[in-house]
């Protein structure tokens, strides 16, 4: 019995029966898609030479004053509304103080006790059903300015540090969730859904490589004890995760690490301050980060250089009037409007708004959602992947693809022939008809087809006998020969015609 109990948990990769519950909350920083910074007119473009996108305001020069970028505020409100947040009628800015070389003012302009929005939620579903739909509460969404970038060059051995202030003052939106996620897989899926939403709303490009989206994950375990009490392990904040995949891996690692640690130490929440651990991606482990010498006291206080922002109902509706469809709404609309499955709708929507736009144009022309969806998922996606091209610059327009599909339906060519044509259309940018002509693919005339079939039937007495004997599938032997004689023939038509000829014999 003891043996069985000891070997039971965590050994099977597929088991859902863990001896604990994983509790995860996320803090996501998202860079807003504004042209200029949050409090000055400097460009937010990524990749410029260091310190070329700065001005007295973002450098924090004496006498400079911030002025709020309304565009940033509107984008943030749009995102918060889509996250079902309550938008505050009155919101203000606060200064968060700490000394660091990439923070030139010695404080960051952020929002402390009166964020512009709070109390939202975002649902994540898994179309493959790997986990039950999960609604994740959102504690708050607030705006703040980014700090600069410190580049620590340890290669020289003299710990030279360089500072790039191009990023200083870039608008960030911080989204803080409730600890509602229950698995690393859910966390990853939820982040995907959040990213999809923000990209759909054109609030952010969510490019993690360029730092437009950054994630910190908080995790601990709730462990039922034999006496019925639930032990909660100390919360760990994981930093330095650079992809959603890393978030999942880091959380998986951290959950098992906390389980092992609990079995050794029995340490529970409150016994030590919240720990920060950094994710070491190549090593696949989290490592404790060094404690700050002094505990941080940010000395928040209201930013006196900026006026509070008040938002009336009218302004709010104006701000969100241009709001696009959220991915969730889009999925259910595609499902009902085009009679496709929830799974198909999910696949299409996850490819992005331009992909869905292409799909809907195609489906409209064809008046057939199912066929459009199949072509999009099989052929268009394959072409996009093979050619590493985005749908926005895909050389074949929906109209052109629709013409091709129509010819397949009319029986002009079979699907495999159509795929060859499509591939050539993508390569050359020419129409289906042009490609077909250049490949020598032409509609075979009825007379020509008839004489070909007569010839086949005449030359293959064995097959004719088999078919006559009831083995209709023997006719397949004629198709290969037909293809050899004229590659343009439609095998379906050949088969039908030959069968008719044989029956008439």
């Amino acid at each position: 019995m003891m043996m069985a109990a000891a070997s039971q948990p965590t050994t099977s990769a597929t088991t859902d029966v863990l001896p604990y519950t994983i509790v995860i909350g996320l803090e996501v920083h998202v860079q807003l898609l504004t042209r200029t910074k949050l409090f000055c007119g400097c460009s937010t473009a990524f990749g410029a030479a260091p310190n070329t996108q700065t001005c007295p305001v973002c450098l924090g020069l004496p006498g400079s004053l911030p002025v709020m970028n309304h565009e940033a505020f509107i984008l943030a409100v749009r995102a918060a509304k889509a996250l079902s947040c309550r938008i505050a009628e009155f919101t203000k800015w606060d200064r968060k103080h700490y000394f660091y070389p990439d923070l030139p003012k010695g404080y960051q302009i952020s929002q402390f006790d009166l964020p512009f929005s709070s109390d939202g939620k975002l649902l994540v579903c898994d179309s493959k059903g790997r986990f039950a739909p999960r609604t994740v509460g959102i504690v708050r969404v607030h705006l703040e300015e980014d700090a600069g970038k410190s580049i620590h060059d340890e290669s020289t051995g003299c710990a030279d540090s360089r500072i790039d202030l191009n990023r200083t003052g870039v608008p960030l939106m911080e989204i803080v969730t409730q600890p509602d996620l229950r698995s690393p897989q859910e966390a990853r899926a939820w982040l995907n859904e959040l990213k999809l939403l923000l990209v759909y709303l054109k609030v952010s490009d969510c490019n993690m490589q360029e730092g437009s989206l950054r994630v910190d994950a908080n995790i601990n375990l709730h462990i039922p004890l034999p006496d019925g009490r639930i032990a909660k392990t100390p919360i760990v904040e994981i930093k330095n995760v650079n992809s959603f995949r890393s978030v999942e891996r880091a959380l998986l690692y951290e959950a098992s690490r906390q389980w092992d640690e609990f079995n050794h130490t029995h340490a529970e929440i409150g016994s030590s301050p919240k720990q920060t651990r950094g994710w070491d991606d190549p090593a696949g482990v989290t490592r404790a980060q060094r404690h700050k010498e002094e505990s941080s006291d940010y000395r928040y206080f209201p930013e006196p250089d900026l006026v509070p922002v008040t938002v009336s109902e009218t302004e709010l509706s104006l701000m969100t009037s241009a709001q696009g469809e959220t991915p969730a709404l889009l999925r259910s609309r595609l499902e009902s409007q085009w009679s496709i499955s929830a799974y198909d709708a999910d696949v299409l929507v996850n490819q992005g708004i331009a992909f869905v736009g292409y799909f809907e144009r195609l489906a409209t022309i064809l008046s057939d959602g199912k066929s459009a969806s199949n072509w999009m998922q099989q052929d268009v996606m394959r072409m996009l992947n093979e050619n590493t091209v985005a749908i926005e610059s895909f050389p074949v327009r929906a109209e052109g693809l629709a013409a091709l599909i129509a010819q397949v339906s009319s029986g002009a060519f079979d699907t495999s022939r159509a795929r060859d044509i499509f591939s050539e259309m993508v390569k050359t940018g020419r129409s289906a008809a042009e490609v077909a002509a250049s490949m020598g693919i032409a509609d075979v005339g009825d007379d020509e087809l008839m004489s070909l079939c007569r010839e086949l039937v005449a030359c293959n007495p064995k097959i004719v006998a088999d078919v006559k004997g009831g083995k209709e599938q023997a006719a397949a032997g004629l198709l290969g020969q037909a293809k050899k004689k004229n590659p343009n023939v439609n095998p379906g038509k050949v088969r039908q015609l030959c069968l008719e000829l044989i029956r008439a014999m």
Binding site: P56, L59, G60, L61, P62, G63, S64, L65, P66, V67, M68, R95, H97, F99, P101, P104, K105, G106, Y107, H152, A159, S161, I163, R290, E293, D297, R299, Y300, F301, P304, D305, L306, V307
Partner: protein
């Protein structure tokens, strides 16, 4: 008349008419500065070259028949807390000793476009923190009326400059009385406009919610002329008001008949020097004779003004001054020395501590700030840092904000009964240099009558209303509701049409030989 004795209004008129050239006016100002500044130390930087260049440009434009700005050829001194493009702007601090801003403050831009001639940057208390100008890293300013006395502060350089006739007008900044108090102690007129009336862009922040730029001159009429130029909405300052700018200098004619002036009895109890009290009451009598009515009013929370101010202002200052850390601009300690001592430590321990980089950085911060700031600035940074710290915020900063609201309400209540509030600017005439430097609390009390206007955001003006027995100027202060500068200036101007206190000048020539 010697251009150095002319008012700004007179100079602008004479230059526009061609009676006198901008160059002559500028030369007159520069030569007086040259003669007097060694004794008074009003200027930290004299921009003779820049001033002469602008004067010549004004004169040649006039010669070509081009129209000139309203301050054409008027020499003006700028408090060194205001940024001037490529011209040193130090805040009288070692921290910014070598700082040359790449931009002009909003008010400086306005002065340039109105053809004023900027002659230099005036001395002040470091980062505008002080009431005597003794906190300058570059030596105190001496009061032109008595070189052994302080000119007041923090705009002491601007006040002394105007009082000594080195320029007819100057700009100051007022966070708790820094324009009005030195104006009072130097016998000139100084206006603190309503908060938001004048843009703070390019004004190096001390306490952002209290700071306001204003004119200092020998008359209310000149203050009106300057305010006309510098007031107005600036999209670059989110706290600047979107109110139209009235033509202040043309709104001075109406009489004071029926204007109600409030008198706060509590101002006249303990602490007010009897000479000051007498002069202030005589000023009330002048206003009564001019048709105004005087009414007793109460400002029940005014007595909490100084403690409230000394929480709000240091809290904001501790934050505003965080940027002076030696990294991007301002004074940086000798880092080579720090690195060398750490290198020595490393060899000794023969290992590299992972905290090393940070502690080098922290040491650089500590030393840069310790060396760059003077003791009063450090005191206020520490006060503010403490009051904003976790666990103390509610008891200090938040409580101070609540009292600030009560003080603001006092003003709103008072201004339902009266149009203006009159009273003293300072409890005494100019005090001897060194008298209060050993006792910060007594120095803080010099703001007693002025801080509440900043806390409430209302306007205030001070102007001379008498002389003490020892011949020192005594000041009167009027405060008005927000944006009532037209009335404020009209009342002060009316007083100056009736009396001649503002025309009294210090007897400088005999005392110039002193250090």
């Amino acid at each position: 008349m010697h251009p150095g004795d002319m008012s700004a209004c007179e100079i602008a008129g004479a230059v526009a008419r061609g009676d006198i050239s901008a160059f002559e006016c500028t030369q007159a100002a520069l030569s007086r500065i040259d003669r007097l500044n060694g004794s008074i130390n009003a200027f930290l930087h004299i921009d003779a070259e820049g001033a002469i260049a602008s004067a010549r440009s004004i004169d040649s434009r006039r010669a070509r028949g081009e129209s000139l700005g309203p301050l054409a050829g008027v020499p003006i001194a700028i408090k060194d807390v205001l940024c001037t493009r490529n011209v040193p702007t130090t805040c009288a601090s070692k921290m910014l000793k070598d700082f040359r801003p790449p931009y002009d403050a909003f008010v400086v831009e306005r002065l340039r476009t109105s053809d004023a001639v900027i002659v230099g940057k005036t001395n002040m208390d470091e980062f505008a923190m002080g009431g005597s100008n003794e906190n300058s890293a570059f030596g105190p300013v001496r009061n032109p009326w008595d070189l052994s006395r302080a000119p007041g502060g923090s705009s002491g350089g601007s006040a002394a400059c105007v009082a000594a006739g080195m320029s007819p007008i100057a700009l100051g900044s007022d966070t708790g009385g820094s324009i009005r108090q030195p104006a009072g102690l130097c016998g000139i007129t100084g206006l603190k406009p309503t908060y938001g009336r004048v843009s703070r862009r390019g004004l190096i922040a001390f306490a952002s919610s209290l700071d306001q730029v204003g004119p200092m001159a020998r008359s209310a009429a000149d203050c009106a002329l300057v305010l006309e130029t510098i007031a107005g909405h600036d999209p670059g300052d989110s706290t600047s008001l979107k109110a139209d700018v009235p033509p202040y200098s043309r709104l001075l004619e109406e009489s004071l008949a029926g204007v109600r002036i409030g008198r706060v009895a509590a101002h006249f109890t303990e602490g007010l020097n009897p000479e000051v009290a007498r002069a202030v009451d005589e000023a009330f009598a002048v206003f009564r004779a001019a048709g105004a009515t005087i009414h007793d009013i109460e400002m029940p929370h005014a007595r909490w003004g100084v403690p409230t101010y000394y929480l709000v202002a240091p809290c904001e200052a501790s934050s505003n001054l965080a940027r002076y850390d030696g990294v991007h601009f301002g004074h940086r300690t000798d880092t080579a020395q720090i690195l060398a001592s750490h290198a020595a430590d490393r060899t000794q321990k023969n290992n590299i501590d992972s905290d090393q980089a940070d502690s080098t950085l922290v040491e650089m911060y500590r030393k840069s700030r310790a060396e760059g700031f003077g003791s009063e600035v450090k005191r206020r940074i520490m006060l503010g840092t403490y009051a904003l710290s976790a666990g103390y915020y509610d008891a200090y900063y938040l409580k101070a904000l609540k009292v600030r609201r009560l003080i603001r309400q006092d003003y709103l209540n008072a201004f339902e009964k009266v149009d203006l509030i009159g009273g003293p600017v300072s409890a005494t005439a100019a005090f001897p240099l060194g008298e209060k430097t050993g006792d910060p609390l007594s120095m803080y009390l010099v703001d007693l009558y002025t801080v509440t206007a900043n806390l409430a955001g209302v306007g205030g003006i001070s102007f001379p209303c008498g002389l003490s027995a020892s011949g020192l100027p005594l000041g009167f202060q009027l405060q008005s509701p927000a944006l009532a500068e037209p009335l404020l200036l009209r009342a002060a101007d009316r007083f100056q049409r009736i009396t001649d206190w503002h025309q009294r000048r210090p007897h400088l020539e005999g005392t110039l030989q002193q250090p």
